[in-house]
Symmetry: C2
Subunit: 298 residues, 2 copies
Amino acid sequence: MGINILESDSIYLGIDGGGSKCKAILVNGFTGEIIGTGLAGPANPFNNYDQTITSIKDAALKALVNANFNETEINKLVVGIGLAGVNLPAQLHKMKQWSHPFKAIFVTTDLHIACLGAHDGLDGAILISGTGSCGFSDVNQKVNMIGAHGFPHGDKGSGAWLGLQAVKQVLLSLDGLEKPTLMTQLLLDKLACNDGLDIVSAVAKQTSSFFAKLAFIVFQAAEEGDNAAIVIAQEGASYMSNVARRLWQDNPPKMSLIGGLTPKLESWLDNDIKDKLSMPIHSPEMGAVIYAQQNTQR
Amino acid sequence: MGINILESDSIYLGIDGGGSKCKAILVNGFTGEIIGTGLAGPANPFNNYDQTITSIKDAALKALVNANFNETEINKLVVGIGLAGVNLPAQLHKMKQWSHPFKAIFVTTDLHIACLGAHDGLDGAILISGTGSCGFSDVNQKVNMIGAHGFPHGDKGSGAWLGLQAVKQVLLSLDGLEKPTLMTQLLLDKLACNDGLDIVSAVAKQTSSFFAKLAFIVFQAAEEGDNAAIVIAQEGASYMSNVARRLWQDNPPKMSLIGGLTPKLESWLDNDIKDKLSMPIHSPEMGAVIYAQQNTQR
């Protein structure tokens, strides 16, 4: 049996929803302490609205239980929600229409909460490279988004883009239209394939998440001196450096690089960009809490 | 009421099955005359096996009716079948296991029947650029396939690839990461969009067929002197020229360019490749008939 939330105004829930999972944290608004966490399924309203609201509720209930609160206390929660997909106005509108079970919700993009988290609620900019890629700045109440176009027509410099380039290059190489590359054996091994036809079968109709898992092939081959892989890594990093240059034009006080590809990508960025990066302070889900606090305290 | 097929050995059915439709022709084996045609839905066994066999039967029955034969005569037909997707061994095996309603079937790839059709059953090579792209040669009983990797990781120089490049370039341009291009207004108009966000919504999760319908944007802008479009058209055509060079190494007596992009793409090919192209003689579905004849007369 859980306990009751006595001072509901002091408890915030932060939600970070994306294409593969939905994270929730329950935070004491006075101390900033995380008192509960919950993890649920995918929450991208562009992909699936019903699944998204189910995942958000699911993650919220898990966080309540994890903090030893009653599940019935859900209606006392003030919630900040950052979601992939709501950069599209129709999706944001739909989410805001949701008859949610909370006390109040404040919905914004996954990029916005990531930026708020990285800079502890202050102005700043972020470069993101994970499965997808983009740049985002939040300066003087004005947000700016660069990229976030999606796969396969955008998201250059992301894991999915790097994996896709590796597959392209290997298939052309196996057809004798490009030079041999170390990426070929790495890809054949990773996909348990014997030849190009096997690769064509293995990659057919796969999503961005699948291709993102192949990104390491580019970095590994590049580190071993493979020219084709170096060209791909440089092209991706050069694009991210250009995104950073565009974001610096918005005069953010700080810029952070976040996302799953950070450890690999950072060293490939142009020096002038790399040298000015700051470490992110908080997680995106804490950024969602900050977003809810900023909206209730205004 | 239809009539009966008296001399069943002299009537052949040719099937050309692909991702959007299935064409059938009924041919008098002695005269080569087309005596009936039928058109049905998609027939790509990699996409959907059940739909494929339904479409093939459907197209066959329509061709029988069109030729004024009884539908019950289907079991007297000797059938040549060319299908997209059966270059993957598992799909070819599955098609060959089919408990079909015909007298006999001979299954091969859509590329093979296109090549047989283009060169009237003789040795030769084909360059294909439609929704997808590839090269194929059939010389001394040995076939060779270049490309046909699929979308979005391959099929360079195809309609889908050209359309995808146009979308990429326009989105980067609208983000200020690439120079303005004439393709932007053409794409906004074609998709009835107002800005980059609209485009991102419109192209999300679309298939190769969708992107192929945008290929004209590249050619139109290139013809008006747009540099970004010219670079795309040249890169696609240069790839197809390289595929042709690889195919000429197989010593085919002739080479034809076929597929929906032929009228636009041909002028962009390298001169040495363009000058050696022959006009295709027959359609792919007639190539399927030729394949069935070659297999029954051996």
